[in-house]
C-alpha cells in the first residue's frame, strides 16, 4: 500500500509540473510584435489572450483554471470551451481509446501466438515483415485509406474505425513483446516437464505459460495507452470526430493558448490515472511484483 502511495505521489507531481511548464511556455509566446509586417494577431486579440491567461495578474497562472471551474469559456473565439465541453470531448476520446485497447490486446495476443507458430516454418518472414509495416505506418495513413468509406459514403461507424486504426500499431508492438516473452517461456524446463508428463500443448500454454507472460504484457500497457490516446488525435482529425484530439489540434492551430494549457494538463492527468491503474493491475496479476515490493 505504501508503495502504491509513493507511486501515486511521484506520478501526481507530474500534473502541476506540466500545468506550470505549459502555462509559462504559452505566456512567454510573442503573440504580437512592434512590426506590422510580422504581426500575428491584432493588439486587441493579444490583449484578449493576455486576459485569458491572466498575464500580469497576481497568481496569474491560476487564471485559466479559475475560469474553467467558474464555468466561463476559455479561449478567444468559437474554438474556446467550457469545463463541461472539455469533459465531454475528453470522454469521447477516452471512449475511442477504451474500444481500441481490447482490440490492441486481442491483436497482440493473436499475433504473438501466430508468430510463435510461424517461428520455424515458411511463414517466419511474416513475423518480421508485419511489425515492420506497422511500425513504418503513421496512424493517419490507414485512417486516410478508410476515410472515403467512412466520411464520404457513411458506410462505417467513424468511432469504431478510429479505434481499429489506432489499435494496429500498439497491438503489433505489444504482440512483438509478448511473442518474445512467449518464446523465452516456451524454452524453459517447466514447459518440457509439463509436456513430457502428457499435458496437451494448449493446456500447457493456458495454465502454465500465459500466466508468466501477462506481466510483460502489463508492463507495456502504459506506453501503449499513451500511444492509443495520441493516435486518436490523428484518427479524429481524419474522420472528423469532434473530440479531445480535434479540440487540441484546433487550439494549437488557432493559438488558443489557455485551451492548450488546460488540455495539456488534462491529458497528463489522464495518463497518470492510466499509469496508476496499470500499476494496480500489475500488482494484482503478478504475485512476484507484490513480493518484490513488500
Amino acid at each position: 500500500m505504501r508503495l502504491i502511495a509513493t507511486r501515486l505521489v511521484r506520478q501526481l507531481v507530474l500534473v502541476p509540473v506540466v500545468a506550470v511548464a505549459s502555462y509559462f511556455l504559452m505566456a512567454a509566446l510573442p503573440l504580437t510584435t512592434e512590426s506590422d509586417t510580422k504581426r500575428q494577431v491584432s493588439p486587441e486579440l493579444a490583449a484578449s489572450y493576455r486576459r485569458d491567461l491572466g498575464i500580469g495578474e497576481p497568481l496569474g497562472f491560476l487564471r485559466p483554471w479559475q475560469k474553467l471551474f467558474a464555468g466561463e469559456r476559455l479561449g478567444t473565439s468559437a474554438q474556446g470551451i467550457t469545463g463541461d465541453e472539455l469533459l465531454q470531448k475528453l470522454s469521447g476520446s477516452v471512449g475511442v481509446g477504451l474500444v481500441a485497447l481490447p482490440l490492441a490486446l486481442a491483436w497482440a495476443v493473436g499475433f504473438a501466438l501466430l508468430r510463435t507458430r510461424w517461428r520455424r516454418g515458411r511463414f517466419a518472414v511474416f513475423g518480421d515483415v508485419l511489425p515492420a509495416i506497422a511500425f513504418g505506418t503513421p496512424v493517419f495513413i490507414p485512417a486516410l485509406l478508410l476515410a472515403p468509406a467512412v466520411v464520404e459514403r457513411g458506410h462505417l461507424l467513424p468511432e469504431l474505425c478510429a479505434a481499429v486504426v489506432i489499435a494496429i500499431w500498439p497491438g503489433t508492438f505489444l504482440g512483438t513483446l509478448v511473442g518474445d516473452a512467449l518464446e523465452t517461456e516456451l524454452s524453459r524446463d517447466y514447459v518440457r516437464t509439463a509436456l513430457s508428463k502428457g499435458l496437451d500443448p494448449g493446456t500447457v500454454l493456458r495454465r502454465h505459460v500465459l500466466p508468466n507472460v501477462w506481466p510483460a504484457l502489463l508492463d507495456a500497457v502504459t506506453p501503449v495507452a499513451t500511444a492509443l490516446l495520441a493516435g486518436s488525435f490523428a484518427a479524429e482529425r481524419v474522420f472528423g470526430l469532434p473530440y479531445f484530439g480535434q479540440l487540441y489540434v484546433l487550439a494549437v492551430l488557432n493559438k488558443q493558448v489557455a485551451v492548450v494549457v488546460v488540455s495539456t494538463t488534462t491529458f497528463a492527468t489522464v495518463l497518470v490515472v492510466v499509469s496508476l491503474t496499470v500499476e494496480l493491475l500489475r500488482m494484482l496479476a503478478d504475485p512476484r511484483a507484490r513480493e518484490a515490493r513488500a
Binding site: L29, P30, F135, V224, A230, F267, A268
Partner: protein
Amino acid sequence: MNRVPVRAWVGLVLMVGLGGLSLVAGRLFPETLSNTCPLGWDLNRPDRSVCELAFGGLWVSLAVGLAAGALSTVLGLAVAALARLSGGVTEQVLLRAVDAVFALPDVLVVMVLQLAGQSLLDAGMTRGLGPFGLMVTSLALVGWAGPARMFRDRLATLEGQEYVAAARALGGGGVHVLRVHLWPMLRPFVLAVFLSRLPNAILTESTVSFFGIARMEPMSLGRYLGTSYAALIYEGGGRVVIPAWGLLVLLVLGASLASQALGGGRRREV
C-alpha cells in the same frame, strides 16, 4: 571479432540508398524525376509530379530523423552520464525527470513546442533557426528521455563488472572510468539507440506535419501526405498517397532493421 549482422546491413543500405537516391534525384535532377514519373501529376499542385514530391520529400524526412535522433541520443547520453557520475539524490531526481518526460506523448508535446517555436520564428526571435531547426529541436527535446533511461541502465550494468571495480580500486575517477573503460563497451549500444530514435522522429514529424502545424520547407513526406490526403476521395487518388506512404514505410523499415540487428533484437519504443 564482432561481425555486423546481415539484417543491419540490409537496413543501413536501404536507408542510405533511399536517402542518397532521393537527394540526388530530388535536388540534382528534379526535371528527370518529373518528366519520367509514371504516377502523373499531383492533383493539388498541377505543376509538380507525384514522384517529384514524394521522392523529393524523402531526404527531408530522413535528414530530420537523423539530426533529431543524433541530438536526442547525445542529450540522453549526457543526462545518463551525469546521473551516474553524480549518484545519490541527484541521480534519483534526474531519473524522476526522465520518467516525467517519457510519460508525455511525443506528438502532443511536439505540437506545443512547434506552436511556441513558430511564434518566435514569426516574431524574428529564433536567431537563424528555421523550420528545419525548430523541428529537430522539438523532436530532440521530447526524444531524449528514452535514450537517457536506456543509457543509465546500461551504464549501471557495465559498472557492476569486475574490471570497472578494479579500475576504481586503482584510483580511477568517475570521468576516467566512463571515458576509458565504459565508453568502448557502450559505443555499439549508442549506435543502436540512435538508429531506434530515427523511425520515431520521422513518424512524429510526419504526424505533426500532417496536422498542418509544422511548416517544413522543402516539404517532408509527412507534410506532403498531410496536404495531399484529400486526393483519396477522388477515383484513383491512391496513386498520390500510396507512393509517399511506401517510401515512409521503407525508410522506417531500414532504420528499424538496422537498430534491431545492432541492438540484439530490441524493438522500437513507443
